[in-house]
Amino acid sequence: MNPRPDNRGAAIDLESVTKAYGAFKALDGVSLRIEPGEFMTLLGPSGSGKTTTLNVIAGFTDVSSGKLLVGGQSVVGVPAHKRNIGVVFQHYALFPHMTVGRNVAYPLTLRGVGQDDRKRRVAKALDMVKMGDFAHRYPSELSGGQQQRVALARAIVFDPPLLLMDEPLGALDKKLREWLQLEIKRIHRELGTTFVYVTHDQEEALVLSDRIAVFNRGRIEQVGTGRQLYDEPATLFVGRFIGDSTVLRGEARSDGTGTALTIAGETVAAPRRLAGETSPVMLLRPEKLAIRRPGQADGKNRLAGTIAEAIYLGSGSKYEVKLGDGSTAIVRSPLTGENFALGEKVELCFDGADAKLLPDDSTADTTLT
């Protein structure tokens, strides 16, 4: 299948979009630019506004205020059936009284596409999702993964410039989900359509997306590539939501050279400081922390702890270490490293430059799923 340069996908602009239900703001001033042909994932815990954003773009939900442009045109007030946007739902939403073939032909029938052209395009779309042999089956005769592939074919058969997917793999088991993620990625490459994908699964977001918008409480916390979000989280929420992390909280002191944090009598330092008055915390990725037996640790930044959990992962080991203040640090160590037993007293050490300084945010912990 050749890419269609004439239909490279539509850009989407959300400008200060707000959706209020009474006093509750499901979306609170969301601004986001999605480039033509981009794979954008809206990531966040349930109730964070990601699905509302998708429904707003699809036309299922009106905005309370703000602008919404698809392909440069305002679509505020345009009903869903006139937006020409493909939508894939978590619950598949295949019509149970129609065969797979008629389901996929449905949007073409609505658009008055002639029978020959319709047949050809239905076959093409079903081939693309590898469901070509199932055109005469009914949805009830298919597995969940097969149904979702048919739903995908139905959403792309009319060549929409934009495809929205609302947790499409949420109801499937892990193996199938991983395989379909790659299929979706392939289809995105082949079509060149703009994809907007909603998920609460950060791994899925990292696998699929060009960029990820992290939602929390009706707002976007940060937009960026997976690498940017992992390496340079803008907020504690993003740092905690994407990947494993250790958050160090303590008595903070800042001077010209950096910030020192005193945790249960031990002091660690990072060569950075935070602007403003907010109390800083340090965020460390698991691979930036090293475990040493007491006395063997090097460097200035050392924290004593006890191994609370040791998990063998095949490619390495993951340890949960209980620190002096009762908090838990997560450490990943390579296979070649030493092994530590449960309950063993250890020391953690890290390079201060690897510690990310972020303003504290008490909501970051409670909203973790």
Binding site: G59, A80, V87, H91, A93, P107, L110
Partner: protein, 289 residues
């Protein structure tokens, strides 16, 4: 051997238990046999044996054009009643699925309360509403229109019967509609269907099983209606039940009355057999392979 014993015992026990669930239905079966089976058998036998053995009662029925006309009218009226019920019940049942639980309770009560009032009482109130000097005609005249004949017409019979039978249409329709996933309609919208198109291509086909179920119940119940057509109808809207009554109670022609009942029963079965493939088509296709 000893290892096998428990298995065998279990199997025996199971065989012993197998008929017991059916035993629970025995009271119902006995009752049905007594109040349906036996009378039905009697009717068939008497239609063939009175006044003497033979098919003379059936020959009489099919020989008299008036009987055939009434038979046809019975089916026509019943079909109209079913149609009126579908048209009235469909939006009502849909509304029941769309509103909150409190309003739904009120709507259900509105369906059920007339149910608890005797059919005779309801029919008599229709007499008051429909008669030439009744409520409807007075309203029409005071609004400057000419009055219309409703009582002792087929229209009047259909109106009255439809009202009495409406709950039998609404309830099965509602139970099917509440199972329809409205997100399918939303999906149809996203694929480019304007609301009316989404309704006719997605919602309506999915609600058809309820329409069929309700229509069949209403149609069959309407075929045997006696009181309502007798009170609201005139000589030109006589239904078969009235003829049966005349034959049996006035003329004491039990054989002829029985023959009429059998003809009605057999014709009903034939019609249902004809309609069944249409109503089942989707499930049959879905079940294939």
């Amino acid at each position: 051997m000893s290892a096998l014993e428990p298995t065998i015992q279990t199997a025996e026990k199971r065989a012993g238990w197998a008929w017991r669930p059916f035993a629970l239905t025995l009271p119902a079966l006995v009752l049905l046999a007594a109040v349906i089976g036996y009378p039905l058998l009697t009717i068939v036998l008497r239609s063939l044996s009175e006044p003497e053995w033979g098919v003379q009662n059936y020959a009489w029925f099919f020989g008299a054009p008036v009987n055939l006309a009434v038979l046809q009218r019975t089916f026509t009226i019943s079909a109209w009643v079913a149609l009126v019920c579908v048209v009235c019940a469909y939006p009502y049942a849909y509304l029941m699925t769309a509103v909150g639980p409190r309003v739904r309770l009120v709507l259900v009560l509105c369906v059920l309360i007339p149910f608890w009032v005797s059919g005779v009482v309801r029919t008599l109130s229709w007499v008051i509403l429909l008669q030439d000097s009744g409520v409807i005609n007075s309203l029409l005249r005071s609004a400057g229109f000419a009055g219309i004949r409703l009582i002792r017409t087929q229209t009047g019979v259909v109106i009255g019967m439809a009202q009495v039978l409406l709950p039998f249409m609404i309830l099965p329709l509602y139970s099917v509609m509440k199972g329809i996933d409205l997100r399918l309609v939303q999906a149809a919208r996203s694929l480019g269907a304007r609301p009316s198109r989404a309704f006719f291509t997605v919602y309506l086909p999915l609600s058809l099983p309820g329409v069929y179920a309700g229509a069949i119940i209403v149609f069959i119940l309407a075929l045997g209606f006696y009181i309502t057509p007798a009170l609201l109808g005139g000589p030109r809207s006589t239904m078969l039940s009235t003829l049966v009554q005349t034959q049996v109670l006035s003329l004491l022609q039990w054989g002829r009355g029985g023959a009429m009942g059998v003809v009605l029963l057999v014709t009903t079965f034939l019609l249902l057999a004809l309609a069944a493939p249409v109503m089942r088509s989707r499930h049959r296709e879905a079940g294939r392979r």
